[in-house]
């Protein structure tokens, strides 16, 4: 074993390191197996490990719950995996301030349980909660869910962070109050950075109160035109939905089959969730039904346990239902282009014999698209390039979040970002001059 690996084991102790081949395999990234996996118990230990890694140019892969480890290009090197799950305590929580500071190895599910006691929550609802998605992983992948319609993306909620830099220095940015403009907004830089600029170890969030009541209406539309009409009827009105998700027919079919409820599965559905005090929810839902009642739409109202199950199913699509030969991507377009995108997608998937499952934030234009091939994965590769061509015309981008390893060498999981890559590479070079953090996985090979 190399000297630097032995040094790293000394930092955490034998009991908090894995080095047997079988154990290491479970922490492979795109088929590359690390030489060592460590479970530090403090920020100081992470700092010590990174100092050693920096000195010896040892490649580091930060690992939270490992639920989104498929995101990114195939890494150049994987030497040591640093698993953050032992750094998981809530550091400060003053409910009356609606602010909470927590260590980032904590699972989002656990954090929400703690906040629920005070009837508050972190307003982000990405997938993989049951599988153990951590706060750190959600920050660095900029993951989001349907509630984004009302509360914005994670960066809107993140007030401050503490990070261990590549050289082992522990630094912070932002603040622990809801409003602050002192210095650069460092937290923004780390959201979606895929662990390439440092290991995020602590985060301060603004919280929201849990609403007293919630109801969801599922509006089935016979075709894409009707769907679009309903989307804009809601967006241009004064109702304030928490979620405004469009669901494609195959996904609707799977979800309703799983939950065992009877809704028309032929066309697209728009799921609109409203959360507030009961009277305000009922009032807004009835207005939504009026607005979307025409055009042969059928409307189903749900609340309570079934409503929770529906959202849980939708959010965790496609990871729950689909087999390994799937491709999951995130397309970002404009709400006004949804119609064109869905038409293009229908054409592409029918010509390539693919099933397309779409769950889309209609208000923000961020759509999760999952494709399943009835043949081999070469049609998935074609689909990605065709979809990107389509998106280029309407403006936007497409990131592949998860795909069979065999595909990764044939496509770039990140879409082209033009000349702005130059400044990103300069930032990376200055903050991680030896390229030890997740080398090669991020955009442009960062």
């Amino acid at each position: 074993m190399r000297a630097e690996l032995r040094e790293i084991i000394e930092v955490v102790g034998e009991d908090f390191a894995l080095s047997s081949v079988d154990e290491l395999k479970r922490f492979s990234v795109d088929g590359k197996t690390p030489r060592l996996v460590v479970f530090p118990r403090s920020v100081e230990e992470i700092s010590e490990i990174l100092k050693i890694a920096f000195r010896s140019s040892t490649a580091i892969t930060p690992w939270g719950g490992g639920t989104k480890i498929g995101l990114g290009r195939i890494p150049d090197r994987v030497d040591v995996v640093i698993c953050t799950t032992n750094i998981n305590s809530v550091s400060e929580y003053e409910a009356a301030d609606l602010v909470c500071t927590t260590q980032c190895g904590i699972q989002l599910r656990k954090l929400q349980e703690i906040l629920r006691v005070k009837r508050q929550f972190l307003a982000v609802d990405p997938p993989h909660l049951e599988a153990g998605a951590t706060i750190g992983g959600i920050i660095v992948t900029n993951d989001s869910g349907p509630r984004r319609q009302r509360f914005g993306a994670l960066k809107e909620l993140l007030l401050g962070i503490k990070v261990v830099r590549a050289d082992g220095k522990v630094v912070k940015g932002g603040a622990k109050v809801v409003k602050n403009v002192a210095g650069y907004d460092i937290p923004k830089l780390y959201v979606g950075s895929l662990g390439t600029l440092g290991i995020v170890v602590e985060a301060t969030f603004r919280l929201y109160p849990i609403a007293e009541f919630s109801q969801t209406c599922i509006i089935s539309s016979p075709d894409i035109d009707a769907l679009e009409k309903n989307v804009f009827a809601v967006l241009n009105s004064t109702v304030v939905p928490t979620c405004l998700e469009l669901v494609s027919p195959p996904l609707l079919d799977r979800v309703s089959g799983h939950l065992g409820f009877d809704i028309p599965k032929k066309g697209y559905a728009l799921c609109v969730r409203v959360e507030s005090i009961q009277r305000a929810v009922r009032d807004q839902i009835s207005r939504i039904c009026d607005m979307c009642g025409g055009s042969n739409a059928k409307i189903t109202l749900i609340e309570g346990g079934l409503e929770e199950k529906l959202w849980d199913c939708l959010i965790n699509f496609p990871w729950k239902f689909l087999k390994d030969g799937r491709l999951a991507c995130k397309a970002s377009i404009l709400p006004g282009s949804i119609k064109w995108f869905l038409r293009g997608l229908e054409q592409i998937s029918s010509s390539l014999h693919l099933d397309a499952y779409v769950l889309g934030r209609a208000g923000s234009g961020v759509l999760t698209v999952s494709l399943e091939s009835r043949e081999d994965d070469s049609s998935l590769v074609d689909a990605v390039s065709l979809l990107r061509k389509e998106i280029r015309v309407i403006g936007g981008n497409l990131t592949v979040w998860d795909c069979p390893l065999s595909m990764k060498s044939r496509i770039d999981v990140w879409d082209d970002i033009g000349e702005s890559i130059g400044i990103m590479k300069r930032i990376k070079r200055l903050l991680d001059p030896r390229a030890i953090l997740n080398p090669g996985r991020f955009v442009g090979g960062i």
Binding site: A175, V177, L189, V191, I277, A280, L334, G396, L430
Partner: protein
């Protein structure tokens, strides 16, 4: 005018035409400070570009000659962020003031940096939309300046600050390159450069185009004014409201001195015998708002409100806000000069921090009026003084610094919306360690390795990118001649 200077001016005129370059001392006076008038510096030249290409050409020239440059919007900033540098060029974006695109379907507006904040709302209000960030200076301040400072306003408690409404930027980098970051769509792959650029106080480059998000006007807006005998009770009411699960669009507190000042200035008919007043604005769907009005009224009463008024119509609502929005300027009615401080504390520390500020004010023998965004804990203590009295301003600065110390000790920040600029750079170490600042400086170096873009701001001590391995230092022509030294 020495040789180098006149040659340099000639090159600027070649880029911008004679009307785009200001060099006469009389005209330069108008640009020697921003809203923080206690610091004044005359720049070498002021330039007024009309396009990104012109900005780029000016910046390229400055970079080639190692001349520093400072961007400026409307100059309403309160931290000296647009304070010129003596041997540099001030780039005013005031002529780049076109609204380039209004896209109601996608809720986006694309503007040039010199567009005034309120113009954006004016351009979309007939369609039922508005631009949410509303700093008090919104009828004059520009979007470019808002981007630089990450400006807030009275409604950011619910709707967020500028960064939450900027989706993309076109930027001239300090080497003259024109680049776009972000876009009309969300989640562009790569680092969130737009996010780091907003609030960077003009130190990373010059914004030449901004993609903004607009939002739907709420169905109903209700504004409640309540009077309290003591400011602590008003503070407790604020925490009480959020504790009931209500996030109002805005919550503002004004103390007795502020009430008296605005009553003299704009007669908003506030209860003048009150120790403090609180303004609570609720907006959203009517059923929700009406229910929340009841709860808020109840909480206000529980916390000892002596009088509660709910605005009956739009004109009364405007009157409620008129007092608040003119509070800074109104200080002129009760004091020859005033200094605006900007600090943030956790909401729950309001009462204790206000007591501490009062204690400090007495110790320094100065009067402090308090006007603040109570909902997000953003204090604006206004220190009243008389600049004709010798040594008084120095005492004001000392007290202002002490107030920031109190804010940071309470777990807060040295600035919530006015920025660090020139004024507060010395307080940065209160919040940030050397390593924290070093990280920020590495980012600065990634954008501006020569350190020419708005130098002397934000960072407490002079730094260079040489140690960071980003560049080698080159001298300014004046330095070469041995006439001066930049730090």
């Amino acid at each position: 005018m020495d040789n180098w200077k006149s040659r340099f001016k000639h090159k600027l005129v070649e880029i911008l035409g004679p009307e785009g370059v200001i060099s006469s001392p009389d005209e330069l006076v108008a640009y020697e400070c921003d809203g923080l008038t206690s610091y004044r510096v005359k720049p070498l030249f002021v330039v007024l570009p009309r396009s990104a290409i012109e900005v780029s050409e000016v910046v390229k020239l400055c970079s080639a000659e190692n001349v520093p440059f400072v961007p400026r919007g409307a100059g309403t900033g309160l931290s000296g962020g647009a304070l010129p540098v003596e041997d540099g060029v001030l780039i005013s974006l005031s002529r780049m003031n076109r609204i380039l695109e209004v896209d109601i379907v996608n809720q986006r507006v694309v503007v040039e940096p010199g567009v005034v904040n309120i113009w954006v709302t004016n351009a979309v209000s007939n369609r039922g939309y508005y631009y949410a960030p509303d700093p008090s200076s919104q009828i004059v301040c520009t979007i470019g300046g808002n981007v630089a400072e990450n400006s807030g306003g009275v409604h950011c408690l619910k709707y967020g600050v500028t960064v939450n409404h900027v989706l993309g930027l076109e930027v001239v980098l300090p080497d003259g390159e024109i680049i776009e970051f972000g876009g009309k769509t969300l989640d562009t792959p790569g680092y969130d450069i737009t996010g780091i650029f907003v609030g960077s106080e003009g130190l990373l480059g010059i914004v030449t185009k901004v993609i903004l998000r607009i939002v739907r006007r709420p169905e109903v807006v209700r504004t409640i004014l309540a009077a309290f005998d003591r400011i602590e009770h008003a503070g407790a009411a604020v925490s009480g409201i959020t504790a009931r699960g209500i996030i109002p669009a805005g919550m503002e507190i004004m103390d007795r001195l502020s009430i008296l000042a605005v009553e003299k200035a704009v007669q908003p008919r506030y209860p003048t015998d009150a120790g403090a007043i609180i303004l609570v604005e609720l907006d959203g769907p009517s059923a929700e708002v009406e229910a929340h009005v009841c709860v808020v009224t109840e909480v206000l009463r529980e916390n000892g409100a002596t009088e509660i008024r709910v605005a009956r119509d739009e004109s009364e609502r405007e009157l409620f806000w008129k007092g608040r929005k003119s509070a800074f300027a109104a200080m002129g009615r009760i004091s020859p000069d005033y200094y605006v401080q900007d600090g943030v504390i956790p909401r729950t520390k309001l009462a204790e921090v206000l007591r501490e500020i009062e204690r400090l004010a007495q110790r320094y023998g100065l009067k402090v009026a308090n006007v603040f965004h109570a909902g997000d804990g953003n204090l604006h203590p206004l220190i009243l003084y008389d600049s004709s009295k010798e040594g008084e301003f120095e005492r004001v600065e000392e007290l202002a610094g002490e107030i920031l110390r109190v804010c940071v000790e309470a777990g807060g920040s040295i600035t919530g919306e006015h920025g660090v600029g020139y004024d507060k750079k010395r307080f940065m170490p209160l919040m940030f360690t050397e390593s924290d600042l070093d990280t920020m400086y590495l980012i600065k170096c990634a954008f501006d390795p020569k350190g020419l873009c708005n130098p002397g701001k934000v960072f407490p001590t002079p730094r260079s990118c040489v140690e960071a391995g980003a560049t080698s230092y080159k001298e300014h022509p004046v330095e070469k001649m041995g006439l001066g030294k930049r730090f």
